[in-house]
Amino acid sequence: MRGSAVYPGYARQTLIALRTIAWKETHRYLRIWLQTLLPPAITMTLYFVIFGNLIGPRIGPMAGHTYIEFIVPGVIMMSVITNAYMNVVSSFFGAKFQRHIEEILVSPTPNYTILVGYLAGGVGRGLLTGLIVILISMAFTHIQIQHPFITISVAFLTALLFSLGGFINGIFARKFDDIAIVPTFILTPLTYLGGVFYSIELLPGVWRELSLANPILYMVNAFRYGLLGESDIPIQTAYSIIIVFIIISVCLSLYLLHRGVGLRT
């Protein structure tokens, strides 16, 4: 916004607008907690019961941990990824569909404020569901967090990245089907194949190499390193990949907002 940054009141307006959008987004998922917070809690409980308690003991230890300990980080990341993504894509597309996104577009709110406000909702819901799943996991196993900073930072960066993914999806979506395509056909397969339920060390050569092209593998393993101190890949590589994807996604989101793609005719 050329010529705007020096205008008196610009910073104040931007901060209040950011707080308004962030609170609006947070209030939205808290208000409909039966749709946003309860389902992941139930689903992840079922994962722990079935894969952890019932099937896990027959599988035996993996990477030096009991099977339920091994899957806890991946299951937490699954909920973080899905909820961060779904919060932003459904809220942003809903705002487009009902056209109340125009309330913000006609206001002096800068594009980066709109983006950060929506991301705040996605990151908040992703981390909150992650926390709920951690609390549930405590009923099934005892995990002592090995590297708290890595655990929290990886969860935060992953929630941020997938909130950005949801935002980009929301910009391009034209109908409700469009917001289900990416989670169903891309996100879920990549998450299941991202080392949530197994170590890639178990895979034969070519499949192992293919798995390394899956970005979710790096997030799951980095988070597992934070919780258990175990990872199939170097932690620095995981951070680098996550941060590069975040930078690309932020640039793309701001470019799309600036161009008005899907928002302005």
């Binding site: 309330e103 006609v106 709110t109």
Partner: protein, 317 residues
């Protein structure tokens, strides 16, 4: 000062529709300005461009001297928009909608609450402040959109069909409200299909047709261009024959009603004198249609083949 300045504004949609063609328009501060035109003329496109919901193809737009391209923050801060279609979150309450809007404009919570109470009270919605917006009637939703557009106290308020679908009582109360905020200094641009509304409220009017401004003047000057008016006369008793009224063109509507056309060079006194000569007693009289409406229809009259969608950009062979 100019509240709005448009220069050589053009819009060509991706579909090829050339919606605006070199539109020039100036609205001075303090005006109550009417923007009229048939469906598809380009009114909403102009409003969309000013409010940045539509990207212009070329041209200049300034709001109180601020360019929407170079100084969007300043231009948008001064602008309030009441769009044609309801575009608020139907799951939020009336208060939430107003307070959020205030937040988007950087208004602190305390001031926002005060203004929400002020405008919701003035527009008769304060008792419904905790109602979810989707439960409001059509008229209430229209008033909510006006309250929302005013919460940041814009210097220029643009209303796109603000009274569409509301009953006459609510419409007249909204007119009073708009007159008052205009008198208090808010410049208003009104796009409406109700020409009675435009005639009653606006001092200046622009008529747009097929993406071009075809008239831009004050209402009085515009109405002077009306070369004839049609009146409906209710007659006491029943008429056996259509009375001969000299140069006046008379058409019977039914046995006790006549339609008479009075040209601008004729007077009503003359008409009534002729009626009296023939012992025709007039019980009541009214314009057949609103004067501006009559003028509007005559100005937009064109051969049937000209009534078509906005022209497509001609594709080069």
């Amino acid at each position: 000062m100019q509240a709005l300045f448009l220069s050589r504004l053009n819009k060509i949609y991706a579909s090829g529709v050339h919606a605006l063609r070199d539109v020039d328009l100036v609205v001075d501060e303090g005006e109550f300005f009417g923007l009229l035109g048939p469906n598809g003329a380009g009114k909403s496109t102009i409003i969309g461009i000013i409010s940045s919901l539509v990207r212009k193809t070329r041209g200049r737009v300034e709001v109180f001297g601020y360019s929407i391209d170079r100084e969007p923050w300043q231009a948008k801060s001064l602008l309030g928009l009441v769009p044609q279609e309801f575009n608020f979150n139907s799951f939020e309450t009336v208060s939430q909608i107003i307070l959020n809007q205030a937040g988007f404009y950087g208004i602190n919570r305390r001031t926002a609450h005060q203004r929400a109470e002020q405008y919701l009270t003035e527009l008769g919605l304060w008792s419904r402040r905790n109602s979810v917006s989707r439960t409001l009637s059509g008229g209430m939703k229209r008033r909510l959109m006006i309250a929302r557009a005013l919460v940041h106290q814009p210097r220029l308020l643009i209303l796109d069909e603000p009274t569409a679908g509301v009953d006459i009582e609510v419409r007249r109360s909204m007119w009073d409200f708009l007159r008052r905020i205009n008198a208090e200094g808010t410049t208003i641009i009104l796009s409406t299909h109700y020409l009675e509304e435009a005639e009653s409220l606006c001092r200046n009017i622009a008529i747009i047709d097929q993406g071009q401004i075809i008239e831009n003047t004050d209402v009085r000057s515009l109405l002077r261009k009306l070369t004839a008016q049609s009146f409906l006369l209710d007659i006491d008793g029943r008429l056996a024959d259509v009375p001969e009224l000299g140069d006046f063109h008379v058409v019977p509507v039914d046995e006790s009603c006549l339609e008479v056309e009075v040209r601008s060079d004729q007077s009503l006194n003359e008409l009534f004198a002729r009626l009296a000569e023939r012992n025709v007693q007039v019980v009541s009289m009214k314009n057949k249609s609103n004067r501006l409406e009559e003028l509007f229809i005559r100005m937009l009259e064109r051969p049937p083949e000209a009534h078509r969608e906005p022209t497509q950009v001609e594709k080069t062979a």
